[in-house]
Symmetry: C2
Subunit: 408 residues, 2 copies
Amino acid sequence: MQRTSRMLTPQEALDIILAHVQRLPSEEVGLMDAAGRVLAEPLYAPEDHPPFPAATMDGYAVIHDDTSPWREVIGEQFAGHVTDVTVTPGTAVRITTGAPLPAGADAVVPVEDVELVDDHIVIRREEVRPGENVRPVGADVHRGELIVPAGTVLGPAEIGLAASLGIASVPVSRRPRVSVLSTGDELVDPGQPLGPGQIRDSNRFMLVAALQQAGAEVVWAGRGPDDVERLTELLRERIAESDVVISSGGVSVGERDLISAALRTLGTVHIERLFMKPGKPFHFVTVGRTLLFGLPGNPVSALVGFEIFVMAALRAMTGQQPVIPEPVTVVLAHPIEPGDRIEYQRAIVWCDETGTLFARNTGPQSSARLLSAVGANAYLIVPPRAEPYRPGERLRAILRRPVHGQAR
Amino acid sequence: MQRTSRMLTPQEALDIILAHVQRLPSEEVGLMDAAGRVLAEPLYAPEDHPPFPAATMDGYAVIHDDTSPWREVIGEQFAGHVTDVTVTPGTAVRITTGAPLPAGADAVVPVEDVELVDDHIVIRREEVRPGENVRPVGADVHRGELIVPAGTVLGPAEIGLAASLGIASVPVSRRPRVSVLSTGDELVDPGQPLGPGQIRDSNRFMLVAALQQAGAEVVWAGRGPDDVERLTELLRERIAESDVVISSGGVSVGERDLISAALRTLGTVHIERLFMKPGKPFHFVTVGRTLLFGLPGNPVSALVGFEIFVMAALRAMTGQQPVIPEPVTVVLAHPIEPGDRIEYQRAIVWCDETGTLFARNTGPQSSARLLSAVGANAYLIVPPRAEPYRPGERLRAILRRPVHGQAR
């Protein structure tokens, strides 16, 4: 097999991949099923919030410029219990936080500014301002206002806001349907005994976990057969049922290149190799609307390939914004040895007491050592250069988990 | 109802809550179901990785100090295809990346340093180092080594690593069983018409989404009845089936305090009010091992109460580390007006090109305005003080979503 194609930079590869992504159709889901889904269309407020002028304090609803020395309490207004009462000069209505302002009233005087004598109140201050302690109609949200932009991953705040405006279901992008297959004659499932020269199939489990966390629907996960014709047949079935097919293994020069051969037969090969480490062998192929990613067999390479490239495709498919989150800048806490390709070192990024992000890598960065990704919350992007990067120099990093402060 | 208790700071409240948390039992789950679960016991490597000395390059397996001028190629070794061949002086075996080193050999010479003539190779360099291009047994992970600490939320790297070491299932903490109820006579479900003085029930949907994203099992979600006896009865049932019961509404002074009354009857009240905004009215009650959280009815107050206090309890129950992630330090991008209690302002935190975290709030911070939490990736902690915080001053922030860099 010939490998004459130029090695692409990660950015060039992302551009090629995103140029081939097509948006998935949208579907309507109820709010109880909307968490973690990507909003397909912008949400606008169908009604005002609050829907009525509401008290923001416990107190008495009054007319602000009523000059009466004392006022008769003619009723009570609780949240959810509206009474048919109108405040006129010389009267007031007891009201609790959140309850609708009764007709006629234009202000709420807090309990603590009032003296209650029998069924009358005396206001113990000079002036009551119009609208005081009243949330007017639409104070929080105006009818027609954009409340959640398309591309937002829906969380509790967005879902609560939709509910508060009477929206019972929302349009979200369909979850991407993904098939995962691992290849390699040497693979044995965990739980089975290892024969001579055999290793565990770890990528299938790793990629399924990554897809679950990314909100994709794993429609199939299995081992690829050991024969190019049967493998091609399996892939054909998977392509028909999937938006994305991910394989691992079979793309290195030294490996039996069943996957490369099968992919070549099936579709258009756009990418074969990347100018990055780990993850140099990397296939990106399209067959109609289906995207195929041939990840390397080395688990760290497969993980990085998934998190940088497949994730970008999944985000673009569902319309998630931003498609490619902007990397952060970090200060190196120790020297970093560059390689001859762009390295994505597994790293820990934290925030110091001045608000500056610092990074250290997770030790030996062998692309077979998955332990280097355990506990890592970032990929440190290390461009090639002659001399080592010194502590205090700045590099960019892609955050894969939250950043914390330093314990005090 | 009397409110004589002192208002607690958020830190005091967290200390009280965590002192009442009991760890949930653990259960064994297969790797395909382990994503997002909390590891209950540390994982140690049951075997070495790699399990055999493996080639890291495509090339020829040789004896490093063999002085033969050329060597006969006596076999091939591919990953997963082990041949019964022994390298002796004057011989070599063709080998591919990841394949086991054949008996007798102690180094791999890469293809590009070798000239192949018929069935013999000539090494085109002076010296071959022992162990060159060979990953020895246990190079990545030693048998018995700690590979994933207890309390880790399992992601793709941890699951892949477990699989690579033959671990088929892992002990994880049982998911917390949680019941959610909203209370308030004024509440109407989204999708139903609003009557006079009525508002939507948004907290139930918001809290269910938050629980789903936190990995809890929502065993029940509904509306509380409007009568203290029936409410107490419902709560009793929910307590029996739940590790955590969360209510919203009915804890403010002005509201009909059904929840307060019911909680008081059922268990021990530890917290009633907090010195914070939003979220001052906040009940924490225990009944046996079950934790009850009485959140305010205002949606922003309920969300903040959930994310700061309930989340800490859920993390502690499952043994997740850290129980309370350390806040980050941020630089203010604009003036911030403090209040008379500790404020948790909804904010956007980003990283500038020097690696410094900056923050701005999301506009009006009314605790009824859930829009202030949409798109917010942080809570900015604003302690009370007389004068406003100036741009450039530093405060602490709790990150609730990832931080991004600035687009260039």
